[in-house]
Subunit: 362 residues, 2 copies
């Protein structure tokens, strides 16, 4: 099974090192520079168009231009060796399709997330496949076994991203971690005849240990978002990066909440979603009963502080996953891809050593 | 590091197969039969004394008696090759110590969980070590990095159990899954000079894939609770076992809540704890605003239905972790221990295969 998935991924993204490491399409944070650095290092980088379709065309042009001077070995000429992520409830599909249509190089993958209604993903999938002659592969993000089964039946995506509750930023308010979600999805998909679709694990993965764990749980690759926040390439302020490096004990330093959406005036997320971020003064004031209006006013004031507005004493939103405490420094994105693969491989070898001398399975 | 931990575990529990598989001390569910079956299969089974100290002495006698007819190879004569788990806030320490003192065979390990105040664990640790001449090793369960650091400094336990948010039954209301919690604890402990304490991963682990994941994340062994509910040895009703086998999509079929404690009149848990169980009518009625009194009354009525009172349409409490959807059948506990070890070993080998042909780390 594993080998079949690896072959599919190798065929669709021929420059990619196995197992596949993807960078998440973090909205307006993952721009061409980050996505390309990840792909140049043998991963698959995604652009975070999110809900802002005006960025799509300029970013494709920018990426094509960068890649002319730094071409990626094994990448085909028709295909841009990066992906693009959409938050579907906030994007007009015909507009997106017209940009796909006029793009000289089609992105290698489109990552679809959070439609108003899961049925909308059928039009997205069919539209993108038709418009790009199948050159843009369809990745769909799910967070429950039921969603996974529903989506494979209606859309037959090329890849399913299985996101657990530890993930930073937006995701389902109610879900498990990938510890149980990945194997339960893998089993349910295999039982229903969809065992050939590669799964990518996401949520709480920060380093080679997490990547190795995702692979043993049934994924053919791993996606990281939070880890790539602490890179020179991520388009966020230094204050945000500092807050990511400084946070510790991610299970208690972060929580899933809607308070950050409220104070920032983000509206439109389906009700079943919230977002994980580092707890800060906005969170605690909300917890103590402060009105959204007052909390929003204090947030607007805090913006004036610049980088000092971040951190647990600040009010600037630091979306991050539970693994944020594992991040110790800011590091180039390409180095992260190479490091986590090397560490995952070594960790798997060391873990097999734990069975040495025992008579397991003999 | 791994090999050092394996040596410690092999020395302290010489009958155990590496890596160590433990069965959780589920309160009044894990009795001598379950604990012994797990140890006989090369694991370490725990008795779930929980808050009911009256069970401790009779269970030790029962276990000694069973083990006289089914002795465990490599177990020393002074030590009972099973452990015992206490919910510390609900147990009088002097009473527990007097039973340790008079026991002809000391249990191999004491698992300490949920004290009123974490400082109480110092008296527990010192008391048990003195009373048993160090024959009973100290296992302490934690759910955050801060707790792990606090406990190793104050108690120097023999083993730390790192429990993630996916776990069934009681645990911290706020924590991450072991995906990030295990590696962050491992790093923090190593940095502070406590890297020699073996870690056991718990929470959402159901099969060889979960065991393999826990090991890659930094554990030297894995503990399962929910999986052992679906065994002939677990002392729960057939209705409870059926509900465990039938539940699917554990991330949405279960939730962390205090509602089941309320309707069952369980009082005494420190405020930072709640418990994960399968969602049922008690949960939904509470969600819709039903009073605790009315919900409790309906629960008391439901008891009369016997096995039919379980399941998502019932009201009997089904504590279970997010991995409950992976359980397909009732199976003897010893077979589970052997199967998960064999599957974990095979899965690690298969996962290494994903790197085949790639130039990672070369």
């Amino acid at each position: 099974m594993a080998s079949k998935h690896t072959q599919i991924l190798k065929k669709d993204y021929p420059w990619v090192t196995s197992p596949l490491i993807a960078s998440a399409p973090m909205r307006l944070i993952a721009t061409p520079t980050l996505a390309i650095e990840v792909s140049l290092a043998g991963g698959l980088g995604f652009l975070g168009v999110g809900t802002d379709i005006t960025k799509f065309s300029p970013w494709l042009n920018e990426a094509s231009s960068i890649l002319q001077s730094s071409p990626i070995l094994n990448a085909s000429e028709d295909v841009l060796p990066i992906g693009v992520g959409f938050i579907c409830w906030g994007v007009d599909l015909p507009t997106a399709l017209s940009i796909f249509s006029s793009a000289p190089q089609k992105p290698a993958a489109a990552w679809l997330f959070a439609p108003k209604d899961s049925k909308d993903l059928v039009s997205w999938t069919e539209g993108i496949r038709q418009t790009t002659d199948g050159n843009t592969k369809i990745w769909i993000q799910v967070g429950t076994v039921a969603m996974a089964l529903d989506i494979v039946k209606s859309c037959k995506p090329d890849v399913l991203v299985i996101q657990g509750a530890d993930a930073g930023g937006h995701g389902l308010a109610q879900s498990s971690s990938i510890i149980s979600l990945l194997p339960e999805c893998a089993d349910a998909l295999a039982t229903e005849g969809f065992g050939n679709i590669p799964l990518i694990g996401a949520g709480g993965i920060m380093d080679g240990r997490g990547v190795a764990a995702a692979l043993t749980l049934g994924a053919s690759g791993a996606c990281m978002g939070t880890r790539f926040l602490a890179t020179p390439e991520a388009v966020i302020s230094q204050g945000y990066k500092n807050a990511v490096v400084e946070a510790r004990d991610g299970g208690v330093a972060t929580a899933r909440t809607t308070v950050y959406d409220k104070i920032r005036g983000t509206i439109g997320w389906p009700e079943s979603y919230n977002a994980r971020g580092v707890l800060n003064q906005s969170f605690w004031d909300n917890d103590k009963g402060m009105s959204d209006e007052e909390n929003e006013r204090l947030y607007e004031e805090e913006i004036k502080k610049g980088d000092a507005g971040w951190g647990d004493q600040g009010r600037m939103t630091t979306y991050a996953g539970t693994g944020v405490g594992l991040i110790q420094k800011i590091q180039p994105a390409g180095g992260i891809v190479r490091e986590v693969l090397k560490d995952a491989k070594e960790r798997l070898a060391a873990t097999r050593g734990l069975f040495k001398g025992s008579n397991v399975g003999s």
